[in-house]
């Protein structure tokens, strides 16, 4: 019973997280697409550009939103016209996939290194020191006596 409740809770949380993304996909706004599309001539996002082609693309996006296109459909039409370079985020295949994998691999690798270091440091006991009062060897004992005898 407890497991079932937990599963329902997880499903509800996942649904709550996915709902805004779904709404954005079905009913995109010009503002969010402006930040996800790159101006082909100035290589900045559309919201940072007033170049002629950026203005033309903004008009195109507005027209497609009014026509009821989804975000993916609008992006696909722009990619068909200008290539994948028009998308602000790199493609999830080919060489572009590296841009997705490397940061995650870096974070995981960094976490592993930090974890390893923390583990080693927690086991660090400092340099080995001979316990106080440990007996000296007979040879060393004799030499210490000789040295001390010089001061008498």
């Amino acid at each position: 019973m407890r497991a079932l409740l937990l599963a329902v809770l997880v499903a509800l949380l996942a649904l709550a997280a996915a709902a805004p993304a779904l709404a954005s996909e079905r009913h995109p706004t010009l503002a969010e697409l402006e930040s996800e599309i790159i101006c082909p001539t100035c290589h900045t996002s559309l919201d940072q550009s007033d170049s002629p082609i950026a203005l033309r693309i903004k008009n195109f996006i507005s027209a497609r939103i009014a026509a009821g296109d989804t975000k993916s459909q609008i992006k696909s039409k722009l990619v068909a016209q200008f290539g994948e370079g028009v998308l602000a985020e790199p493609p999830k295949h080919g060489f572009g996939l590296l841009a997705w994998i490397l940061p995650i691999a870096g974070i995981i690798g960094g976490a592993v290194v930090v974890g390893l270091l923390a583990w080693r440091w927690s086991r660090w006991r400092g340099p080995a020191v001979a316990p106080a009062g440990a007996p000296l060897g007979p040879e060393l004992d004799r030499r210490v006596d000789e040295e001390l005898a010089r001061f008498d």
Binding site: R56, Q81, E84
Partner: protein
Amino acid sequence: MPKQLKLGAQGLALACVAGLLSLLIWKLAHQPHVPKGSAPNFTLPRLDSSGKLQLASLRGRAVVLNFWASWCVPCKGEAPLFEAAWKQWRKRGVVVVGVDSQDFTGDARRFANAYGITYPLVHDGAGKTKDSYGVTGFPETFFVNRKGRLVGHIPGALAKDDAGQLNQGIQKALES
């Protein structure tokens, strides 16, 4: 920190710096620049008809490559010059090719209709061909001779009274 771990971290840091340096060198080496010698080949979809046009298929003819876009204001002024040159020189083995870059195909076709363009037009949406010619703005024009070599370049718009400059470039492409 143990010596081996320290060495590993130093090696990793060095590898990161070397990687970033390589990226910088690669980026600098791939800056757009006007090519010399052979004209970079391309195969692009046609705007004025179906199918594709390959530059190499025009070997044996002199080619005028005009890079333009419908949103480029100076391109409107020079379009009639290229149409006139196409009509004047085509019988002598000259082909004018309009390379529409970083533009909507619909806008480009409307532009072609508005200015009565009848010479072949191709669409370079992503601008890769434009980059291979080192084009940094619109319009720019290149002249390719019958052997496929670049023999002239006009980095800017032609005014109405610049027909002589255009004809000179074509003449050079035919004779070299």
